[in-house]
């Protein structure tokens, strides 16, 4: 028969099947075939095929076409079934489900927190309306072949920009270069507040959100804009507009507006008031317009101006105006646009380098990706391990007619469900933990509920994780031959275990490195905290009386305070104990190399300073009020002595010739231990301390060690207020200020600790899931071993030794990595500890113990199980 050679055209048949209603298929195809063979016998092959095609195309009519193929109610039912099976699976294996969903949720929560942090860092200053167009004018000075960048500018530049380059700028605003702490008072309510003095265009340019009044409130010299919180403190609920506040007990300023507090991620976040620059400049000489660098200049460019182009226009603007001879540096000006202020402000030799903040953005970003990766890997790992148990289910599903496509859909929908659950849980975690995290990071972050990107990222993440985690069971398991799976179970070879081992090693390496990091950071902080500071921080109060009322009343206050009995001594200095401001060169001494001109930290103090702060003398003596000649004496610190290289310093004469003061000679009276005033991580500044009988800005009070602070403070405040009524007693504790210098390091430390705990937690969850999987796979083996006489310890060892090896491998890997990274980190500090080898042993053994406990939890359970239970159903 010819039909052996020729069959109806396959393509036509497939095409027909594609659209034909299922119940018609058999009849139609049968008739078509019969007709085809008939035609074949009567006519040519070509004609038969052509006819077949013709007939097929004729079936393209409404009655024969499958009705709306996409809406098939079966799909819904099927998905419902998948979710039901998925849910039952989760419910049946509560332990696994907890580990899997919880682990992923925690990883996700951490990634979200880090994401929020990054979002905050990158959205700095976006609060300001003219974000895109605001620039700050910066100055590059060449000094010894290097460029130094500074924002401080001369007062003459503002008017110059307005007059000569006005076509580029919409606003030019000069702001006093330094935030000014002032006392603002409404009658008896007094508060020390930080704020800026600026020109009238400022509020408009920065786009302050006014609650009362308008943005042009600074045009009058005696006006002030207050932040909402300050206005509330001073005036309560009443409308503060047009009320008068007193600044520093000297000036009456009218409140012309109240603005919404600036957010923490704004450059001006610390400003609680804005006052007119004119107020600040009153009484300043007009001679120093081109020499005194005490202004910041902000400007708003016209929309069509480009910061780079305008920079090149203004770069030499100052050159014609600086008086010759005063400064041989050739200042170059350029504009720094607002979007770059936060992360690109670490200038090195004139160009923006890698700032610490930018480093942190990268660092946290990478950590976030890592944590997320760890959590995902775990999730995949566990899903994979679990799914092998389900190979029988796959076998049965396939035998009863499941298509591979359906199995893939099933596994994927299940992993989608779990990923979704984790996401919801993670949102919940983040919501709970955010206040604490804000505290840790020193930020004010909120959930971005309304940000479409947040949801897009979240959904994107769910999809990626679910696909990654579900792809193994979906594509691999569904490819099994049912007969093979059902007959012999699935053969889990060595090859399936290897990637999982690598994952465990990877996770533990990161965890151990983080643990080591935490320990070393904590140790470094402890080490620096225990650094001798050369004075006694405890019980020392420091504050600045901001009222002209106090001037000349040093001795009065001192006696008054001592009368209270809670104060041991009081002194003044021109700088606080917590910074190293006031540096001068121009000193000459015996045997000095003429070309050597070191800079010293120079402080003026009253005679009681040494007793108040608690100097420790190495040689010589303190200043004494009894000897008039002591006014031309000095006390130097040990490091200053080392710099001077004097063998017998006491009584030696030092000449000082600073540019701004008459030259004079001083006699060294004593040498004290170095005072750590600046960063405790840095080398100490050599200091020279001069006595003074003038009024100095900072006041120090040493509380009597016998008196408790809680009883001493009210007495001190009362005594102070008896003498000075117009300034608040806004004191600070020196030890608290000193500890605040560790904030950044402590922040890194707690964050590293937090991440380490998380990493080890996530790793252990992974390990636990894995060991229970292995134990379950080997239930029968364990049963037989026990029947043959294996001991519980023997079986415990059997189950744990594999994992212990993995953790030890991780230790060996983590050690060098951690050492390398932390050694790098430590290089940043001049005062640092040495990394000792036992830290690695400690971190490694800690991880080992935790891993062992985790593994034993399951191993002991399996080892003590009754073998009858595992063997009876053979």
């Amino acid at each position: 028969m010819k039909s052996n050679k020729h069959t109806p055209p396959k393509r036509a048949e497939r095409f027909l099947l594609w659209f034909l209603r299922r119940d018609l298929v058999e009849e139609v195809l049968g008739d078509l075939d019969e007709k085809f063979y008939q035609t074949l016998e009567e006519k040519s092959v070509f004609k038969a095929k052509l006819n077949y095609w013709y007939q097929v195309i004729n079936y393209l009519r409404p009655f024969a076409i499958t009705k709306s193929r996409s809406i098939n109610s079966n799909h819904y039912a099927m998905f419902r079934n998948y979710f039901k099976i998925g849910y039952r699976n989760l419910y049946k294996n509560k332990g696994y489900s907890f580990i899997n969903i919880g682990g992923l949720a925690i990883g996700l929560a951490v990634a979200m927190l880090i994401g929020l942090w990054l979002h905050d860092e990158l959205s700095y200053n976006k609060y300001h309306e003219n974000y895109e167009h605001i620039v700050k004018v910066l100055r590059n000075d060449a000094h010894r072949g290097k460029k130094f960048t500074s924002p401080s500018l001369v007062r003459g530049l503002g008017p110059l920009f307005r007059d000569e380059y006005g076509n580029h700028f919409k606003h030019v605003v000069m702001v006093r270069a330094r935030i000014e702490e002032r006392v603002i008072a409404n009658e008896d309510k007094m508060f020390t507040q930080a704020g800026y003095f600026m020109e009238p265009d400022g509020p408009e340019m920065f786009g302050l959100n006014m609650i009362y009044g308008t943005r042009d409130g600074l045009s009058d010299m005696n006006s002030i804009l207050l932040s909402k919180s300050v206005a509330d403190k001073l005036f309560g609920d009443t409308d503060p507009l047009n009320k008068v506040v007193k600044m520093d007990a000297r000036w009456d300023l009218k409140v012309t507006g109240v603005y919404e507090d600036l957010p923490l991620n704004s450059e001006l976040k610390d400003a609680t008031y804005f006052a007119p620059l004119k107020r600040f400049l009153e009484g300043w000489s007009y001679d120093d317009v081109w020499t005194n660098q005490h202004m910041y200049i902000y400007a708003q460019l016209n929309p069509e101006s480009d910061p780079k182009e305008v920079s090149s226009v203004i770069t030499d603007a100052m050159l014609d105006h600086i008086p010759r001879g005063t400064n041989n540096a050739q200042p170059e000006l350029f504009l720094h646009p607002m979007p770059k202020w936060h992360l690109y402000s670490a200038f090195e030799n004139g160009t923006a380098g890698m700032s610490d903040r930018l480093k942190f953005v990268w660092f946290y970003g990478i950590i976030g990706v890592f944590v997320l990766l760890l959590a995902c890997i775990n999730f995949m790992n566990l899903s994979t391990a679990r799914s092998e148990k389900r190979s029988k289910e796959v076998g049965i599903r396939k035998s009863v007619g499941s298509l591979r496509k359906q199995l893939i859909t099933q596994f994927l929908s299940e992993s989608f469900m779990v990923a979704m659950l984790s996401f919801v849980l993670a949102l919940f975690f983040v919501y709970i933990i955010l206040p604490w995290f804000n505290d840790l990071a020193g930020k004010d972050m909120n959930m971005l509920w309304t940000n479409p990107w947040f949801w897009l990222c979240g959904i994107g993440f769910i999809i990626v994780t679910a696909l990654l985690a579900g792809s193994y069971p979906a594509f691999y398991l569904s490819s099994f031959k049912p007969v093979k799976v059902l007959k012999s179970g699935m053969a889990v070879g060595r090859s399936a275990a290897t990637p999982r081992r690598i994952l465990v090693v990877f996770q533990f390496t990161i965890s151990i490195a983080l643990i080591t990091g935490t320990i070393i950071i904590q140790q470094q902080i402890e080490y620096v905290k225990n650094r001798p500071v050369g004075y006694s921080k405890e019980g020392l109060i420091m504050f600045r009386p901001r009222s002209p009322e106090y001037w000349g009343k040093y001795q009065t206050l001192r006696t008054e305070l001592k009368k209270t009995g809670v104060v041991k001594e009081m002194a003044e200095a021109n700088y606080p104990l917590t910074n190293t401001l006031g540096n001068n060169g121009g000193f000459e001494w015996e045997g000095k190399d003429p070309s050597f001109d070191p800079s010293f930290n120079t402080i003026y103090v009253t005679h009681e300073y040494g007793k108040t702060v608690g100097w420790e003398f190495v040689q010589g003596r303190d200043f004494s009020r009894d000897l008039q000649s002591d006014l031309s004496g000095i006390v130097i610190t040990e490091s200053a002595l080392k710099l001077m290289q004097l063998d017998d310093p006491i009584g030696k004469t030092i000449h000082w010739n600073p540019s701004w003061q008459e030259p004079a000679s001083f006699t060294i009276l004593g040498v004290v231990k170095d005072m750590v005033k600046g960063s405790p991580f840095k080398p100490v500044r050599p200091s020279i301390i001069f006595p003074s009988e003038r009024d100095l800005r900072w006041l120090f009070i040493r509380v009597n060690p016998q008196a408790s602070l809680s009883e001493a403070l009210p007495k001190i405040e009362a005594a102070f207020n008896r003498i000075v009524l117009s300034a608040p007693f806004d004191y600070q504790f020196v030890d608290e200020l000193y500890n605040a210098k560790f904030q950044e390091e402590e922040r890194i430390g707690s964050l590293a600790g937090f991440l380490a705990v998380l990493a080890i937690f996530i790793s252990c969850l992974g390990l636990l899931g894995l060991v229970s999987y292995v134990a379950e796979q080997r239930t029968k083996e364990i049963g037989i071993r026990k029947v043959l006489g294996a001991s519980v310890t023997g079986i415990w060892r059997l189950l744990t030794q594999d994992f212990v090896t993995l953790v030890i491998v991780s230790c060996l890997l983590a050690g060098p990595i951690a050492f390398y990274l932390l050694n790098n980190w430590l290089q940043k500090y001049d005062y640092r500890m040495e990394i000792s080898w036992w830290i690695f042993i400690l971190a490694g053994s800690g991880a080992l113990v935790i891993a062992l406990l985790t593994v034993s939890f399951q191993a002991v359970k399996s080892a003590t199980a009754n073998p009858v239970n595992s063997l009876r159903n053979e």
């Binding site: 069959t7 058999e26 049968g30 008739d31 019969e34 063979y37 008939q38 004729n58 009519r61 024969a64």
Partner: protein, 108 residues
């Protein structure tokens, strides 16, 4: 009688089903009709008519045994139902009665 309406082509197919009682299937009907009418008919047209009449209840169907020339597929046999027969009878009676009203005129 709208629900019991019968188109011209449907009537022909129904007649053919009735003629080959319980042995009528697609290709057979097609061939017979083609022979009687002397023109080509599409098999899809036959199927449409059969399905439509099955829905109206004029014919019923059953599957037969597997045959070789149909690629291993079964034939679907159609038989006329009582309703189908009655509709056919009515149609025939209607036509006959009208036909008889034609005056005896010579049409030459």
């Amino acid at each position: 009688m709208i629900e019991h309406s019968l188109g011209e082509f449907e009537e022909l197919v129904l007649l053919m089903v009735a003629a080959h009682h319980d042995e009528a299937y697609g290709v057979l009907i097609l061939e017979n009709l083609e022979e009687k009418l002397g023109k080509k008919i599409n098999i899809s047209a036959i199927h449409v008519a059969l399905k439509r009449m099955e829905n109206k209840g004029f014919v019923k169907s059953r599957f037969g045994g597997i045959t070789n020339e149909r690629g291993g597929r079964r034939k679907k046999f159609y038989a006329i139902t009582a309703l189908g027969k009655r509709v056919l009878d009515n149609q025939y009676a209607l036509r006959t009665s009208i036909y008889q009203q034609i005056p005896k005129i010579s049409f030459s």
